[in-house]
Amino acid sequence: MSETARPVSRPVLTPRTRPLLILALLAGALALWRFLAGLGPVTGMSDGYPWGIWIAWDVVVGTALACGGYAVAILCYVLNRGRYHPLVRSAVVTSALGYSLAGVSIVIDVGRYWNLWKVVVWPGRWNLNSVLLEVALCVMAYVVVLWIELSPAFLERWEAGPPSARQRFAAAVRPRLEKILLWIIVLGLLLPTMHQSSLGSVMLIAVGKLDPLWHTPLLPLLFLVSCVAMGYGVVVLEATLSARWLGRRPEGVLLQGLSRAAAWVTGVYLALRLGDLVGRGQLGHAFTAGRLTFFWLVETLAFAAGLALLASRRQRRRPGRRLLAAGLVLLGGILYRFDTYLVGFSPGPGWHYFPTVPELLITVGIVSLEILLYMVIVTRLPILAGVTGDAPGAPTTAAADPR
């Protein structure tokens, strides 16, 4: 199979994807309203529930879903499984977009966003006790790292283009960049290890307010392991869907291997999760906590069902089952984060939270924007391998194109 990465020559805006643009624009308008009117009129957040889905989904889940680059990098560079290399670039695109839009969500969510620059340029005022400070700085650094990791994609194009200022810039920068790229990649392995685990540590402070089903000293470890599992899940999802978009078969060999890795990590996660509950004597509470039991069960069973499918060699060879398994792991990870930040969090009697419609629409709009931007990037830059479907056995006609 010839697998050089090339820009995809498919239209971005089609009748299927136009709704995404509308949703994204709608989110933009609603965000403007939020900046003019304040958070109260637009969201369902309150003094009892100061964090809503903009934190729980946009930031916490969003960055975990953006851990595809991290997870593949572990396989590819640390474990030296070079065959996964073709998956790296598109995973990095998803990661770069996911983290950047998580940053946008932060600006929309915090109340006094004009002071955000002070967090970066004022080390003398850093409160090193604050887990959130570490998360913020790490995420900001990681966004920069991701775009640098992605930069060879557009630097190559610019360098190969007609002579211009841009071409000269690319010609000067790219070789130097490739010399230090190793050190950047190592940073790209260190930073997510730090902040994804710390996203778990953030909730350690909520003693008494976060139910013991989720509140544990093991939160950083659980968040880290689950994010790696989610990373593999995201890459399986994204690789399968983009292959179908191009009318090809998904890269079965690679995705079977990723699924195996995902199975291992999910297994470790479940062992830690259940072991932690048993060790803290909370297993009985897990089954007798009413509404919380329901959420914990769905969250845990999603992981377990995903693991059951991923662990089976037969199921890994079926693209649909594999996609389902990845989806279940992702669902488990999403629910785990939602439960830790929202469902399991209770400030006391009298407080209720559910996102309002505008709040939901802004989140949906940001996700839509991410999908659109992904399509824009892969249609303009050499990200995805195998554009025109020369691969044997792949349906290439538009009729077979599921999109």
């Binding site: 003094d47 009892g48 060879r317 089952r321 009298g350 559910f354």
Partner: protein
């Protein structure tokens, strides 16, 4: 003096021992104490006043002008159940010009005014009762061929202090009620550029006036005034803040109709239109007529007679806003309920999530159907 409006004693006459209006010392002191307390001064000050009065050292010259008025303010000073009080007030000041009490008339009266102004130029206290018409050159109130406005401007020029007594002189009062055909204004509408003490009320409490004048005379300065020129000791609080029926307000115990059970039990009159919450005055503590009588006390809501925005501008039955809301006689619980959850949002989110999951599962099944099984990665 060329006239003697009332058999008043001048300082000289007092020294000569000819005091036709004796009153016993205890009552004298009691009245001075009340006046001092009203101004917020100590009883020591009251004693000083008594000594000064006995020695004839008080007695500022007072020139009292009447314009568009009903003379109610004068009556309130005089109309008491104790004629000696009225006498006393008149003995504490040298009332050099007062149209109601003047025995003289015509040119004699005019001359009395000019003499009084000349004799104590720069020192006399000018008291104005009634509004001043300004429309059409101010011809709607003329005395001795001169408009009220002219008289006021001339007399105010050399006055040591200017006091507008009553709502009409303070801000226009009844003559200024819609449509104000005469263009009536208060003293402040004519005399600009210097502070004018206003003692609004219809009529005002006589002690508010007495305390102000006595403070000026003994201390050489006026009491602390608010932005409208009203002495703070009398007008610094609303009736609502000092009303004996306030606990009924806080408990939500209101009279709904005149004569109903709650009304007869002395409930709060807010719902009958009491203007107490917006009316700055001290009727609730000072009362009238030295008999502890005051409107709310006898069951009639306050009509806001000291307030320009209320008197003659609002209906007696209209309720007003509370200027400074304070807590009611109810308490929040240990855990208050906060907000709710939008059913539209839950519905929407539920549907969307369900649709996404369903679509995902269906898509996965279709993929398997379309693509079948892959060769093993290790093959």
């Amino acid at each position: 003096m060329s006239f003697d409006p009332l058999p008043l004693s001048t300082s000289q006459e007092t020294a000569a021992g000819d005091t036709p209006h004796r009153m016993d010392r205890r009552r004298f002191l009691k009245i001075l104490m009340t006046a001092a307390a009203a101004v917020g001064l100590s009883s020591t000050t009251a004693l000083r006043w008594a000594e000064a009065a006995a020695a004839g050292k008080l007695k500022p010259s007072v020139i009292w002008l009447h314009f568009q008025e009903c003379t109610g303010c004068t009556e309130s000073l005089l109309r008491t159940s104790h004629p000696d009080i009225a006498r006393l007030i008149l003995e504490l000041v040298s009332l050099d010009y007062h149209e109601t009490l003047l025995a003289a008339a015509g040119h004699q009266a005019e001359q009395a005014l000019r003499d009084a102004m000349a004799a104590r130029k720069g020192e006399y206290v000018l008291v104005v009762e009634g509004a001043i018409p300004t429309k059409d050159g101010g011809i709607y109130c003329m005395i001795g061929g001169r408009t009220a406005r002219e008289m006021l401007e001339e007399t105010a020029r050399d006055a040591g202090a200017i006091i507008a007594i009553g709502s009409c002189a303070s801000f226009g009062g009844l003559p200024a009620a819609d449509p104000n055909p005469t263009g009536a204004v208060g003293v402040g509408g004519v005399v600009t550029g210097r502070p004018v003490v206003t003692i609004p009320g219809c009529p005002p409490n006589p002690y508010n006036f007495l305390g102000t004048v006595l403070q000026y005379v003994t201390m050489g300065r006026l009491p602390e005034l608010d932005a409208l020129g009203r002495p703070r000791f009398a007008y610094g609080r609303t009736i609502h803040e000092h009303c004996p029926r306030r606990p009924h307000f806080d408990a939500g115990h209101f009279a709904e109709h005149y004569g109903d059970a709650a009304h007869r039990e002395g409930a709060c009159l807010y719902r009958l239109g009491c203007k107490g919450p917006m009316t700055h005055a001290n009727c609730s503590t000072q009362h009238f007529g030295e008999t502890n009588a005051w409107p709310i006390g006898i069951g009639h809501p306050c009509i806001g007679c000291t307030e320009q925005a209320l008197l003659w501008r609002t209906s007696v039955v209209e309720t007003v806003e509370i200027e400074h809301p304070t807590p009611p006689d109810t308490y929040p619980p240990a855990h208050a309920e906060h907000g709710g959850v939008s059913p539209a949002a839950t519905g929407l989110a539920g549907l969307a999530a369900g649709a996404l999951l369903g679509a995902g599962a269906a898509y996965a099944r279709r993929l398997d159907r379309e693509l079948g099984e892959e060769p093993d990665e290790e093959a």
